[in-house]
């Protein structure tokens, strides 16, 4: 069975290619695929009848209970016959339905073949989850088929309607399946063999499963999608909406009936909604002018009828249901295919414009007549046999009051009679509408269809008759399913003639009433027009969708404010409400001490004072200075705590930050746009206080929780014996936790790149612009050359003293930075501190001499430096591997080097050098971007201002102004 599905899959995959080369000739070839399946079904027919059910099992996701289990039962055999047989004929029919030059053939052939495969899989599988898989596949593929002509907005909407409605049902069904699966089994045969007790979960699951079935088979209130789906090409309607997909719901009901027909709500949903649908569908079919739509409503009506019978739960009903499925599949696909031929031949499907086709199109009108009679339930057609048997099953129910009170049985009988009468009436309307010669309507001009085009409807139409005549032989093949139902007596075999029985009388009544209705069609139509639409599912659907959409808009408008402060506030509120409140309510406050050193209180008070002042100042620079003050305060606290490395680094970072702030903010207005006491200040302050308090309480509660010594208790001994360094913090940074440091310098690499990219938007960095005496304007060359680049600065900005000092200090700072780098392992310092000092040296050069001076001081590319640093750091991390060590492992090397004598070199120094280079590179990037880069933009803008009256020149020229000659 898996092979058959694989065949469909391969065919679907090859179909686009086939369609491109063979055009419509691809269809007969593809028709062979379902035909093969059909043939196989015939081969195994006797096995199925005798109970030697073919099974197959291929594991897929055993952990989820989702496996490719197949099992051919009588029920699935019957539906599969229909699906494959009609599928093959419809594909054949497509050969003449589509034009050879249709550009969508590749898509249609593929999707249609895939659909046929999915449908076959649906009925063959023995695994509930797989059933859902195929079920949804048919939904999605039918979505594509309904939207085959997406040029019209109506078609697109119809496709989406069908998709959403059936997926809704499908998802409900999925929950039902899983609810049963989790507690019992996903195996269909196991479920049928050993049904679970009808507890609350199971009943809920059964209801959910039925919702899926009802939506798929287009029962009220989901019925509206099916007429909408008539937007699909007619072969699709003939297959999906007559023979195959809509039968899936019936299949599911029939599948579950043997075990769940006794569940509460089962009969209300199947029988109740089914018969309601039968009447609603018939009623609305009588109002249609489009013969395809008429058939669609007729299908709705019939589906309701079949679901009702399949859901009844007795043996007789089960037999009837199978007969109905077959009969309906045959006559309805015939009729749809006929509509396709008529539509092509006459160019319309409007029964008010069609006239005189019957006699001129005998090859079509004859099978249509067979099928019509079958639909109306006229002897000796298949439809008659099955309806007879359905009425019989209801009559039997009413007589025996099992499985539900007989009053409902009689009501159901009455409903079926009414529904059948409507069926007869719309059948007449169809046949009359399509083929009759209407007074006052000129004969519709037609083009004679190709003989092949009528072959499929002809065969199917004859089938309607044949199946009726052969009814007595039909029963043994269907009976194995019927006997699996627990209720009722063994059914009588199907037959054309059971004698004069109540069902026969009822049948005659409905026939008579139906014909009368048709005869009085105009009067009846007027009556219909006065009755308001009973069930308008489509409007309900539209309203629901609109409500969802409106709800979505309203919800999103509330939750998605688009405002950064609000986003931050919501995050902070969560922080206060969850960890903050947990600390307050669940935590215990520990013993505290006032301070380690009273100086902490003094520094702390100053810091808080500075912070509070930030809140009230409007001047940017003041705010920056005040924040800087708190930073220096932190450094003081580090000193007081006994953390000299931190203090040094913090000082340097703070200093660098201040410079960077000043550089970046120099072009912005000196004041913030808005006054700090804007209306929102209250809540900002309130939230700030809450967050601060939360952090404080968390810190206290967490500290109070400590019961063990920290892991770092071993650092002092290990740092020296294993890390070869005396500065424990530095050993931690470059060795114990060197991996953190490596990550951290990666952050610097990214940040450096990012800063450059934000200022020099287009490339990472610009060309260096080194000053040469010749190339540069020397407005003030006379004033000495302490700093080469200084000459490029404007006169009033130059300061000789600053230049002199810079000249002297620069190298001292570089030396100091190197000292910090090399001594760091044993004394305060390290790569970070060293790099920052070197960076500051560059900053000083820039401040004193301007952008050209910077390039003089560092005549290389920052990116290169950063890259080199990263290379050194990563290389030193990897190097130990070459010596059989672990990544980042450190060793000490002792050797003699003139003139220092004995050198004790720890390999982690190399790593620290990498760090140093990256920090210098980042500093260079920062100064180049926020210093030089902004300088340049200022210069450009000034230049532009000057040239404003003249012709506009690209500022490109300015960028290259200082390029090396």
């Amino acid at each position: 069975m898996a092979q058959l599905l694989l065949l469909h899959l391969i065919a679907a995959a090859l179909a686009p290619w086939l369609a491109k080369t063979l055009r419509t000739k691809a269809f007969p070839l593809l028709a062979l695929v379902p035909a093969t399946a059909f043939a196989w079904l015939l081969v195994v027919a006797t096995d199925v009848r005798d109970g030697n059910l073919p099974t197959q099992r291929i594991p897929w996701v055993p952990g989820l209970g989702l496996d490719l289990d197949f099992r051919l039962t009588t029920l699935s055999w019957v539906v599969a016959l229909l699906v494959t047989g009609v599928g093959a004929l419809v594909l054949l029919y497509c050969t003449w339905y589509f034009r050879d030059d249709d550009p969508t053939l590749w898509r249609f052939t593929s999707v249609f073949t895939a659909f046929a495969g999915a449908m076959l899989g649906l009925v063959l599988t023995d695994n509930f989850l797989m059933l859902y898989v195929f079920w949804e596949l048919t939904t999605v593929l039918s979505y594509l088929l309904i939207g085959h002509n997406p040029g019209s907005s109506t078609n697109r909407r119809a496709a989406m309607q069908a998709l959403l409605v059936t997926t809704f049902g499908g998802l409900a069904m999925l929950v039902g399946i899983i609810a049963i699966g989790v507690h019992h089994t996903y195996s269909i045969s196991a479920l049928l063999a050993d049904p679970p007790p009808l507890d609350a979960v199971t009943v809920a699951a059964v209801v959910l499963l039925l919702v899926g079935a009802l939506s798929k088979s287009a029962l009220v209130p989901f019925h509206f999608w099916l007429p909408g789906a008539m937007a699909a090409p007619t072969p699709v309607s003939a297959y999906l909406h007559a023979a195959a997909m809509v039968k899936a719901g019936i299949y599911l009901v029939a599948l579950l009936a043997p075990v769940f027909a006794g569940a509460p709500a089962w009969h209300a949903l199947t029988l109740g909604l089914g018969l309601l649908t039968m009447i609603v569908g018939g009623w609305r079919a009588l109002r249609q002018h489009d013969i395809k739509l008429l058939l669609a409503y007729g299908t709705v009506s019939q589906l309701g009828f079949i679901v009702a019978i399949a859901g009844l739960g007795t043996k007789t009903a089960a037999l009837a249901a199978l007969a109905l499925v077959l009969a309906h599949g045959l006559f309805k696909s015939t009729l749809f295919l006929v509509v396709g031929v008529v539509d092509h031949a006459a160019g319309t499907r409007d029964l008010r414009r069609l006239s005189g086709l019957g006699r001129r199109m005998l090859p079509v009108s004859v099978p249509a007549a067979f099928a019509g009679l079958s639909m109306a339930g006229v002897i000796p057609m298949a439809g008659f046999v099955s309806k007879e048997s359905a009425l019989e099953s209801l009559w039997e129910e009413a007589q025996e009051a099992a499985p539900f009170p007989s009053i409902y049985g009689y009501l159901a009988l009455a409903a079926v009679v009414v529904g059948s009468a409507l069926t007869v009436a719309y059948t007449c309307r169809f046949l009359w509408g399509a083929f009759a010669t209407k007074p006052g309507v000129p004969p519709t001009p037609i083009t004679v269809p190709h003989p092949g085009f009528v072959l499929s409807p002809l065969l199917l139409g004859v089938g309607c008759l044949a199946l009726g005549l052969l009814a007595p032989f039909e029963s043994p093949w269907l009976m194995p399913y019927a006997v699996t139902l627990p209720t009722g007596a063994s059914p009588e075999p199907l037959a054309l003639w059971h004698g004069v029985t109540v069902p026969l009388l009822l049948s005659l009544v409905s026939l008579g009433v139906g014909v009368a209705l048709f005869a009085q069609r105009e009067a009846f139509a007027r009556a219909q027009a006065r009755v308001p639409a009973l069930v308008d599912g489509e409007r309900g659907f539209a309203r629901t969708l609109r409500a969802v959409d409106r709800g979505a808009v309203e919800t999103t408008a509330v939750t998605q404010r688009g405002s950064l402060p609000i986003y931050l506030a919501s995050i902070l509120l969560v922080f206060v409400a969850l960890p903050g409140m947990a600390a307050v309510t669940q935590g215990r406050l520990p013993e505290v001490r006032l301070w380690d050193n009273p100086a902490q209180a003094v520094v702390g008070a100053l810091m808080i004072a500075a912070a509070v002042l930030v809140l009230v100042t409007r001047r940017r620079l003041t705010a920056v200075m005040l924040v800087g003050a708190t930073g220096y305060g932190v450094a003081m606290l580090f000193v007081l705590h006994g953390a000299p490395d931190l203090a040094i680094t913090q000082m340097l970072v703070e200093t660098v930050s201040l410079v960077v702030f000043v550089l970046a903010l120099r072009r912005m207005p000196t004041k913030f746009t808005r006054h700090p006491d804007s209306p929102s200040r209250t809540w900002r302050l309130g939230l700030g206080a809450a967050v601060g308090a939360a952090v404080g309480v968390i810190a206290l509660v967490a500290s109070g929780g400590r019961t063990t010594t920290p892991v770092s208790v071993d650092f002092p001994t290990e740092a020296y014996t294993f890390g070869h360094g005396k500065n424990i913090v530095n050993v931690t940074l470059v060795d114990i936790r060197a991996w953190d440091t490596l990550g951290e310098v990666s952050v610097l690499v990214a940040a450096a790149t990012g800063i450059a990219s934000l200022i020099f938007v287009r490339t990472r960095n610009t060309r260096l612009s080194r000053a040469t005496a010749k190339a540069l304007p020397s407005s003030n060359a006379a004033r000495g050359t302490w700093l080469l680049g200084g000459r490029t600065m404007r006169k009033e900005k130059r300061s000789v003293i600053f230049e002199v000092v810079t000249r002297l200090v620069f190298h001292i700072m570089l030396a100091a930075s190197l000292y910090l780098l090399f001594a760091g392992h044993n004394q305060p310092g390290g790569g970070f501190a060293g790099g920052l000092v070197a960076g500051l040296a560059l900053v000083v050069r820039y401040l004193a001499g301007g952008r050209y001076e910077l390039d003089e001081a560092a005549p290389f590319d920052a990116g290169l430096l950063v890259g080199l640093g990263l290379l050194v750091a990563v290389g030193s991390a990897l190097a130990p591997l070459a010596f059989g060590g672990t990544i980042l492992e450190t060793t000490a090397v002792d050797f003699t080097l003139w003139p220092w004598g004995e050198v004790h070199l720890v390999t982690s120094l190399v790593f620290d050098i990498g760090v140093y280079l990256i920090v210098v590179g980042m500093m260079l990037d920062i100064v180049r971007s926020l210093g030089t880069g902004i300088d340049r933009q200022i210069a450009e803008e000034q230049e532009q201002d000057e040239q404003q009256q003249e012709t506009e020149d690209e500022p490109e020229e300015l960028q290259t102004e200082g390029a090396r000659p």
């Binding site: 989702l66 931050l568 114990i736």
Partner: protein, 556 residues
């Protein structure tokens, strides 16, 4: 292999990209060398990750104490099944996205757009990003996890503001500031953790937190959860995401959407299972999952831009993963892991496809798109399959991931769990709705009809915007001086020329490969699901992790 120790491979997923970044910076004048280096580095990571998956599955968690420091002094890298799997998926994704980006660069090399994505910045930054992601997955140390986050965050700051255009700066600002706040909260959480336990090693924390007062443990748990939930975009801390992701260049959005939130999810899974096994927060997380799913998907339904729709579905589906985590059962955890794998791949695919849509249609606004199914059948097929996959339509991975979670939810069976299952089902349906709207309008609707509609909308919107601004000002809801960019950003102005550009082969190839990877999950679903089950079992037992990291004598 002999005596080569597999644990020595552990740092490579971080070091190889960093090495690549260093070289890319050095070779920044040669596009060609940069490309070669980047591809080589990431391909190397894929190989390493594959070996790790195989090795962790065969012989348990792999541990490396960096620098050979005696446990538990230094930093440990740990790859258990979960880490290795995440690493493999993320490395495949980053490699394919890199190829897409290179393809884009090729295609644009003589184009104005080239300036928009300066590759000399892109390569090193992108490599650092992947190093950060890998580090986060491998970190066996809470503080190192923070560092991993910082690496990926800083590179993401650079990538999201690439090109520095107004929209990217605005969006990037939101992203950067929110991320900074989350980092600060994470640091506070680490401080609190260290205060209570005196360690940051995860395995040691697993032991020590067990000995804490339950109130203190709860505070730590909530601190970490809050920090990670921001990164993972869990409601109500998710609104930043749809405002920031959509403006970045296509490959950047793709990798962000696919990976970055999942790193947050990973961190939640790791810390919740390892550190707080007896979580008292099941109900809280279930509520968070429900709200994230439903509010996220309602957001998607209300949008009109493809990238924003996808960003909202991204948020929404994070809810599924939180759902699995919240259940605190093995099936739930396995379901969450499976969903993470599926979602990384599918979101990346969809955003790559969106990148192609943008190329071909000149926009990602549904107002302007039309006729794509005709214009590029292949692209249409890729989109349709991926959209169905995301919506959880069988037989794709989204469906498999979904049934894993629904299964776990129903097995737990509390009323709240049922409610969340229902919410998940509704979310699934609305995802299908949102994406079928896209399909219907961008792919099915003829371009001519789209243009007509757009013209009408343009007129309306222009009037509307004006009125709204005025009304808001009058109502005093928006302080004066606050800029709201209302100048006809999406959908209102018509693209001058939307003549389709041919899709560069390499971009299309990378996208198709990404989609194929997603589809292949369907084929390997059996082994993959079994793997996630084993991974989840490891996580719930905690023993495999803790005992491989710490020798007996230091387990205190």
């Amino acid at each position: 292999m002999g005596d080569f120790a597999v644990p020595n491979l552990l740092p490579l997923p971080v070091l190889l990209p960093l090495l690549g970044a260093a070289l890319a910076l050095a070779f920044r004048r040669s596009d060609r060398l940069q490309r070669i280096v980047s591809i080589a580095a990431l391909a190397g990571v894929v190989v390493v990750a594959a070996v790790l998956v195989w090795q962790t599955d065969a012989s348990g968690p792999q541990v490396l104490w960096l620098g050979a420091w005696q446990e538990p002094l230094g930093i440990s890298l740990v790859a258990d099944r979960l880490s290795a799997l995440m690493l493999l998926v993320s490395s495949v994704v980053t490699l394919l996205v890199l190829l897409f980006a290179i393809g884009q660069g090729h295609a644009d090399s003589d184009d104005e757009v080239a300036r928009e994505t300066p590759l000399s910045i892109f390569h090193p930054t992108y490599l650092v990003l992947t190093a950060g992601v890998a580090n986060a997955f491998l970190a066996g140390d809470l503080f190192n996890l923070f560092v991993g986050f910082e690496i990926l965050l800083f590179s993401s700051y650079v990538l999201i503001t690439l090109g520095g255009s107004a929209s990217r700066i605005h969006a990037g600002t939101t992203y950067v500031v929110v991320s900074l706040l989350s980092s600060a909260l994470f640091l506070i959480g680490i401080a609190a953790t260290y205060a209570a336990t005196g360690t940051v090693n995860l395995a040691q924390l697993a032991i020590r937190i067990g000995g804490l007062d339950s109130g203190v443990a709860l505070v730590l748990q909530l601190c970490l959860l809050t920090a990670f939930a921001i990164k993972a975009a869990v409601f109500p801390m998710s609104a930043w995401l749809p405002d920031s992701y959509p403006t970045a260049p296509a490959p950047v959005t793709a990798v962000f959407a696919g990976l970055l939130t999942k790193v947050g999810v990973y961190a939640i899974i790791r810390t919740q299972t390892l550190l707080f096994p007896e979580s008292p927060l099941t109900d809280l997380l279930l509520w968070a999952a429900l709200l994230t799913m439903v509010i996220g998907i309602l957001g998607a339904v209300s949008q009109s831009g493809l990238k924003r729709i996808l960003s909202f579905t991204l948020v929404s589906h994070i809810g599924y993963m939180i759902f699995g985590i919240a259940l605190s059962t093995q099936a739930g955890t396995a379901g969450a892991i499976f969903y993470v794998v599926h979602h990384i791949i599918i979101q990346t695919s969809l955003f790559l496809i969106t990148g192609l849509v943008e190329r071909i249609g000149g926009s990602t606004s549904l107002h302007r798109l039309g006729g794509l199914a005709m214009a590029s059948p292949l692209l249409a097929t890729l989109f349709f399959v991926s959209a169905m996959n995301l919506s959880g339509v069988p037989p794709f991975s989204g469906f498999l991931a979904k049934i894993g979670l629904v299964d776990a939810g129903i097995a737990v069976g509390t009323p709240l769990a049922w409610v969340v299952v229902a919410g998940g089902i509704v979310t699934s349906l609305l995802t299908l709705y949102a994406l079928s709207k896209v399909w219907s309008q961008a792919f099915w609707r003829p371009l001519a009809e789209a243009r007509q509609v757009a013209e009408l909308a343009a007129e309306e919107a222009a009037d509307e915007a004006e009125q709204f601004e005025q009304a808001e000002l009058d109502a005093g809801r928006r302080p004066r001086g606050t800029t709201t960019i209302t100048a006809a950003p999406t959908g209102v102005a018509l693209a001058v020329d939307t003549s389709p550009r041919a899709l560069p082969r390499m971009m299309l190839g990378a996208t198709a490969a990404m989609t194929a990877v997603g589809l292949s999950i369907t084929l390997v679903a059996g082994p993959l699901h079994a793997f996630t089950e084993r991974a989840a079992a490891d996580l719930r037992q905690r023993d495999p992790y803790v005992t491989s990291v710490l020798p007996e004598q230091v387990r205190r």
